[in-house]
Amino acid sequence: MTNITSTPGTDAVPTAGPVGASKSAGRKPDSRREFKAFNGLAHVALIVWALVTAGPLLWVLLASFKSNTEIFLGKPFALPASFSFSTYADAWTDAHIGRYFINSVFVVLISTAGTMLFGSMAAYVLARYKFFGNRAIYYLFVSGLAFPTFMALAPLFYILKGMGLLGSFTGLILVYIAYSLPFTIFFLAAFFKSLPYEIEEAATVDGASHVRKFFQIMMPMARSGLVSITIFNIVGQWNQYLLPVVIMSGPGADQKLLLTQGIAQISVSAGYQAEWSTLFAALVLTILPMIIVYGIFQRQIQSGLTAGAVK
């Protein structure tokens, strides 16, 4: 799909005819040299960037097995003296990574499900039904894309405070859903619009209700779009930092920190004591699951995250 390598090139020469063949033969030695040099340089550039990308992550992994003294020795890419998992045990229990992880999974699971349910319901109705106020509601949702979240930060805090939802998972989940709706609806409404009308009409003739048409006909037809935007929302909500920092505050909230907040907090306390090994183990515990999930679903993840930008 993203590759133009698929056509076997050798077949193209004979079909190009005598003129094309003699022409390319004429400049062959020159272009071969150009190609070789270019190809070599290309690999150098790509390998350098791959190292720049993977280097810090590899370093975190190596450091997670080292004692604090070893970390301060320098030699960042030296193997650890021994592979001890005690730093991991510390990170899991003392630094509460396990709890933060479960909190994040819980919140993202419910909020993504909610976003997809409510987002697709609204998008479907706005895309395929004519009624008074349709456009107004649609633009109300889509205009949300133009506003930076920072602008609403203070008011949002006081709205939640007024409702008694500050420091609660319920509040955070509702806010995640609300702030994910503009893009979800924008994307899905366009998708629902592009689906054919014939099947839906046939179902209407057969007496299917509106609700049934939505769940049994439209949702399955919109599967590829739904998958993309679900991945987009899972990654976006999993990586949220600003909203949890604002909302998960106040008394009792330290039990309910999410992973991003938790890691930031471990980093601060590690800094006070200049004791880094637990932090590295915590980072590995955070990153490793993502690498595994990415390894399995990398195609879907790449297309899901870029779907937003391609339109």
Partner: protein
């Protein structure tokens, strides 16, 4: 057929609209409202100051300093990221040379793409924690650990002169892979015949890049530019987690997003924070509109 249409429509819209109006629309309306009040965040909102908050900004050195840093990111983040991503995407897709006129991707391009893209999956908060250590100012930092022992340690984030550059590097590090994949997808949509035809005419790879790839990808580049610009207005997680004294040393890494957060929740200046938010909104909007206008090309629609 029309039976039960309106109850259905209302039933499907009521929850999403209610959630959206309560937490998003209402919050933004209040932000505009609060921006003309002086309000600590406690008690009734009574002290109307008109444009006082905005006037206060003009005399606020932190505001100008933060704005300067945002502009620094706004200019450099898109340029560097887009150039790197375009080059890498081009190398991946067309770098493999041509066989009988068909240009091909470089060997192993799939593996490169998988590695490059991964940082995009990490939360900026996690990236900030990692790079806080990468830039560690003693031997425990990755870069200082790599430097020869004879060097005195580089301070990186603790040095006012380089702290902002460190922030920029981290943002670029995270963003490049995403745009490599985005541009690769765009390049895949360019018909092979276009490259073949140019190659038969003897075009070099450099010519292909400037004369074919960039013009045909212009729309995608434009979108990338706007996205990266919006990211440059954020950078909150990086500055809040990674920098010395959050925005330091001595305000050297302060940005508008951090200012909004601190005014709202630490300095009891909810009104001023909202005014800053309003300014941020107009800055973002102006930037997006300007980008789309300036980069517009006759044949393409923005």
């Amino acid at each position: 057929m029309r039976h039960g249409k309106y109850p259905f429509i209302i039933g499907f819209l009521v929850v999403p609209v209610a959630l959206y109006v309560t937490f998003v629309v209402w919050a933004y309306i209040q932000a505009f409202y609060l921006s003309v009040y002086e309000w600590s965040g406690l008690g009734p909102v009574t002290n109307f100051v008109g444009l006082g908050n905005f006037r206060k900004m003009l005399d606020d050195t932190t505001f100008w300093q933060s704005l300067k840093h945002n502009v620094f990111l706004l200019v450099l983040l898109p340029i560097i990221t887009v150039i790197l991503a375009l080059v890498f995407a081009f190398l991946l897709n067309v770098g493999g040379g041509s066989k009988g006129g068909v240009t091909r991707g470089v060997w192993g391009s799939k593996v490169y793409r998988i590695i490059f893209f991964f940082p995009q999956l990490l939360a900026l908060a996690i990236v900030a924690v990692i790079f806080g250590r990468v830039f560690g100012p003693d031997k425990s930092g990755m870069l200082n650990g790599l430097f020869p022992d004879s060097w005195s340690p580089w301070l990186f984030l603790a040095d006012e002169r380089y702290a902002m550059a460190c922030i920029l590097i981290v943002l670029v590090w995270q963003a490049v892979g995403f745009y490599v994949v985005l541009f690769s997808a765009g390049m895949g949509n360019i018909p092979t015949e276009v490259y073949e035809a140019a190659a038969i005419d003897g075009a070099t790879r450099v010519t292909l890049f400037f004369k074919i790839t960039i013009p045909l990808l212009w729309n995608t580049i434009q979108v990338a530019w706007v996205y990266l610009g919006i990211a440059a207005f954020d950078a909150f997680a990086l500055v809040n987690i990674m920098t010395v004294d959050r925005g330091g040393p001595d305000g050297a890494t302060s940005v508008l997003s951090l200012m909004i957060y601190r005014n709202a929740f630490e300095f009891s200046q909810a009104g001023y924070a909202s005014a800053l938010g309003v300014v941020l909104f107009f800055l973002t909007l102006t930037f997006a509109a300007l980008t789309l206008r300036v980069t517009r090309r006759e044949s393409l629609e923005a």
